[in-house]
């Protein structure tokens, strides 16, 4: 990149033409707009149904679904889901830190590529396939139980499948890339000279972490944590497969209410709650990214 200002400013002159091509911009955006528009229609459908009456979702109006939402059973499911999402976000963020640190600090291009592929695979490969693997590891006759009973002599010492432990493992494992990538981006922006300076001034490594690395990495870590939280509040496959019928998250309850129980307004109200959570997550994420940019100037 040259620091000298170019006498010709191509971008500016392209913008000068822009008003003439305004209708074309609309045309360029139309197909994508139709897909996103359908998503917005879906959100509106859910909102309409949530204030509809049971068995008359399109014609009746009622707030029954929202009063049902406030029943103790539903409140406990909502709190439960949010709590599991929070806990999984916390664990994932902690676990992601050393991986992100390795990813940014390693000098070997091969190691970096290997780690990248290894963290992306659990995200990309079907959750279904991975759940089968977890079943084989955590199940009553699974790897873990066999290993532990071989070591201790206790028959089937653990029950890790179809309960919260199994669901939590699945949630953390599948969302690690969401936390690693933003954390790594934040770590990459810390110049090594800062750490060298801290060292010259007499700080040991622990102080360097506390006063330099962690404060500078936290926006990335927070962005990752929020993303993981958002993803896991809507978790459906992992609780469905690893939780059996014992762990109910909001998404699983939505399926039950809209499906077998055919209480569509309640399912829609829960859906609307999930949408609101997702929107809150997105704006919080944007806020953190923006503050971070402002700090860096």
């Amino acid at each position: 990149m040259t620091a000298i200002e170019s006498p010709i400013t191509p971008l500016q002159s392209m913008e000068k033409d822009a008003p003439i091509r305004k209708p074309q911009i609309g045309l360029l955006l139309l197909p994508a707009g139709m897909l996103i528009g359908l998503l917005l229609v879906c959100a509106l459908v859910v909102l309409r149904m949530s204030v509809g009456e049971r068995n008359a979702e399109w014609t009746g109006w009622s707030l029954r679904a929202y009063t049902q939402l406030a029943s103790s059973r539903n409140i406990s499911i909502i709190i439960d889901t949010i709590w599991m999402a929070l806990l999984s976000a916390l664990i994932t963020t902690l676990v992601a830190f050393p991986i992100a640190l390795f990813l940014t600090r390693t000098t070997s291009a091969f190691a970096r590529r290997l780690v990248l592929v290894a963290i992306l695979l659990p995200m990309i490969i079907s959750l279904l396939v991975q759940s089968f693997g977890w079943m084989a590891i955590l199940g009553p006759n699974g790897l873990l139980n066999q290993a532990i009973s071989a070591a201790t002599g206790i028959e089937r010492p653990f029950s890790l499948l179809f309960n919260r432990t199994g669901v939590m493992l699945g949630l953390v494992q599948t969302s690690i890339p969401l936390a690693v990538l933003p954390t790594a981006a934040a770590l990459r922006s810390i110049p090594l000279s800062l750490e060298e300076a801290a060292n010259v001034l007499g700080a040991n490594r622990i102080r360097t972490y506390r006063h330099i690395i962690l404060p500078l990495a936290w926006p990335g870590m927070a962005a990752g944590a929020i993303l993981v939280f958002g993803f896991n509040t809507g978790a459906f496959v992992v609780p469905l497969l690893l939780g059996g019928l014992k762990v109910t998250t909001i998404a699983v309850v939505i399926r039950d209410q809209m499906g077998s129980l055919s209480n569509w307004p309640l399912g829609a109200a829960l859906s609307f709650l999930l949408i609101l959570l997702a929107l809150a997550v997105q704006s919080l994420n944007r806020l953190i990214v923006r503050t971070n940019v402002e700090i860096k100037g």
Binding site: P10, S13, M14, R21, K22, Q24, L27, L28, L29, P31, A32, G33, L35, I36, L38, L39, C42, A43, V45, V46, M49, P98, I99, F102, R105, R113, V115, L116, V117, A118, I119, L121, P122, I124, I125, S126, L128, V129, F132, G133, A136, I137, N141, Q173, I176, E195, E196, A198, N199, T208, G234, F236, A251, I254, R255, M258, G267, S271, A278, Q282
Partner: protein, 278 residues
């Protein structure tokens, strides 16, 4: 023991970081490895470790694919449907995402920030809600469209992933090139076709492959939108897991894993060869 360095890139601290990273990656990949190992069992159950290794269940899968009972097993049918859905989804995302990426990357216009926000929405939108709402729309409107209701659902979710890759690729194109083409008399569509598209093709291709993989593996949306006639592979696997949980399911899963890994490596090679790997 080596001495710690100012940046922690050597010595005990680095060994610790390396050790923890290796351990965590092993844990993350454990379920995938487990599926691979069990698929080679010679036994009838999901026992671990397998009593002996054999290709028995792969033979079984082969029979399900091309044997005389292939029609009953429905594996081939669902595999073909999944491939078809994934290919159509990639196509729809490219057709919708490439022009939109160009508009957002090159022009400034009213409402641009809002549109950028909206494009990112499908990433955070809960899949269960999208699946159920689309199901409601389909049944309320009477527009039962078989494969297309799944393709549209997958395309909504895949669009941001394609556009992210595409916009990164377009950002790397020097606007001077487009300006030069215009000066030489090329019309805007011709500039787009002959300058922008070829230069962004790597990003578009990697985005399209990513969308293909995502669609092929997608479960939640398909779970709400599948029908008896349109039956993607993920739904086939789910139903097998609920009925006969035999090692054959693991053999099919292993084949899916192998295809996925191959696709990831292809994306990596495409991006890598362009010299813009993350």
């Amino acid at each position: 023991m080596s001495m710690p360095t100012a940046t922690g890139r050597a010595g005990m601290e680095w060994q610790l970081v390396k050790g923890i990273t290796c351990m965590l990656l092993a844990l993350m990949l454990a379920p995938i490895c487990m599926v691979l190992v069990i698929s080679f069992t010679s036994g009838d159950t999901l026992q671990f470790p397998p009593p002996a290794l054999s290709l028995r269940w792969y033979q079984e899968v082969w029979t399900m694919l091309v044997g005389p009972d292939a029609g009953i097993a429905r594996l081939r049918e669902s595999l073909l449907v999944s491939l078809e859905i994934a290919a159509l989804t990639s196509l729809v995302c490219v057709l919708a995402g490439v022009p939109a990426s160009y508009a957002l990357e090159r022009y400034r216009f009213a409402g641009k920030t809002l549109i950028e926000e909206l494009i990112g929405l499908p990433v955070v939108f809960p899949a269960v809600v999208l699946g159920i709402a689309l199901l409601v729309l389909v049944s309320a409107s009477g527009l039962e469209s078989g494969i297309f209701q799944i393709v549209v659902a997958h395309s909504i979710v895949g669009l941001p992933f394609l556009m992210r890759n595409c916009m990164t690729a377009m950002r790397g194109i020097d606007p001077m090139l487009e300006e030069a083409a215009k000066t030489l008399g090329a019309s805007p569509p011709r500039v787009f076709w002959e300058i922008v598209l070829p230069l962004a093709s790597g990003g578009i291709a990697s985005g399209a492959i990513l969308v293909f993989i995502l669609s092929f593996n997608e479960f939640t949306l398909s779970y709400f939108l599948y029908s008896v006639d349109v039956f993607p592979l993920s739904i086939w696997l789910f139903q097998q897991a609920n009925t006969s949980f035999s090692p054959a399911v693991f053999a099919v899963s292993s084949l899916i894993v192998v295809v996925n890994v191959a696709a990831v490596l292809v994306v990596d090679a495409v991006i890598g060869s362009r010299g813009s790997a993350a």
